[in-house]
Subunit: 222 residues, 2 copies
């Protein structure tokens, strides 16, 4: 039986980040439904797992962790010898290889995520929720994301993946928002029109781990 439980819907980009990591590491897990429409993410029991009332929460035997990128790091550390063994660097590369991944994982969290999340919300989620789009927010965040992706395009012209020759957690962490931008909005060309980012996106989105996440989203849309 799986010792790992992920709490939250596969529609959530932060939940998807953790699921993709578990598939890469070949770690069995079960997915626990959190009915956000019913406010289950704000219930006292759930807040013990995730004090901010956000998804995902994560449990592995007696260990509970929140924040998707922290959960992914834990999965890579605990299950170092399983599945993809270079997702967070490896022993030979040591802390220098890990730092190369960390800097691009932080670039995702600090530079890529804010404008891409804003676009995902405005262009994909707001219409589903019956909310009005904010054209100024779309324009502003599109411009911000374009500048970030110009830096990525240069980097990915020098290197197959963000942190070097191997696919890593840094690449993986970009998949959830990128997938929605490319497949559920009209702004996918922000990625696909850039030569090197487009090549990288084709490659990283074709990974079996990510295809399994997309399949889970189809099977469990809510």
């Amino acid at each position: 039986m799986a010792s790992v439980t992920v709490y939250g819907p596969p529609m959530s980009t932060a939940v998807c980040r953790v699921l993709a990591c578990l598939f890469e590491k070949e770690v069995d897990f079960k997915l626990a439904r959190v009915d956000m429409a019913k406010g289950e993410h704000k219930s006292p029991d759930y807040l013990k797992l995730q004090p901010f009332g956000q998804v995902p929460a994560f449990q592995d035997e007696l260990t509970t962790i929140f924040e998707s990128r922290a959960i992914c790091r834990y999965i890579c550390d605990k299950y170092a010898e399983r599945g993809n063994k270079t997702l967070m660097g490896n022993k030979e590369g040591g802390f220098v290889a890990r730092a190369a991944i960390e800097q691009w994982l932080e670039a995702e969290g600090q530079s890529f995520n804010p404008p891409s999340s804003a676009l995902v919300f405005q262009l994909a989620f707001a219409p589903l929720m019956g909310l009005k789009q904010d054209p100024a927010a779309v324009e502003q965040n599109e411009a911000k994301l374009a500048k970030v992706l110009d830096v990525y395009d240069k980097r990915l012209g020098e290197s197959r993946y963000l942190a070097g020759d191997e696919f890593s957690l840094a690449d993986l962490s970009h998949l959830p928002n990128s997938h929605i931008l490319v497949n559920k909005t009209e702004k996918g060309q922000l990625l696909t029109s850039r030569k090197n980012v487009g090549r990288w996106w084709e490659e990283v989105s074709a990974r079996p781990s990510w295809k399994k996440v997309v399949e889970m989203q189809r099977a469990l849309p809510a």
Copy 2:
């Protein structure tokens, strides 16, 4: 001679995060001036160190790293046996102790930093730069930060520090923005009026490492 160089002004909150970490770990370093008024952070040579043209950049012998939180993790990993040996957990605590720190370090980066940085910019930096404040942005980000700090206040009622009984990188990472909010704006009561956050702030801001950073800011204001 120090093998470590930090590029950027001590006035930058992200630079301060790295300096505080170096002082905690008792790692010698030199500070290299980046004249942002002259655009040196956008020069081709600087962009080789920091492709987004932001501060800080960081160099340790042949290793270069960007993103302040990634740099701090590297310092903790490479200099594990120096200075504060529990800043990122330790061998006994293993990946579970590290995950407890990582989740609050990510909470800082994802939940605390966006609204606190916006307030720091609006209330402290915009006036210095002769820019007009945006009262709507102040109000919105104050409300966001208040909600985040309510969660922190509950956590810090159960635990001396964010990740447990020991001061860690998770606490340290909050110092730069908190220092400005408390000392350079009228919104310091967001922290100081909350019983447990206020107690924690008194304790973490009194650390000798942080006092050295504040001293560097006074000595090198630009």
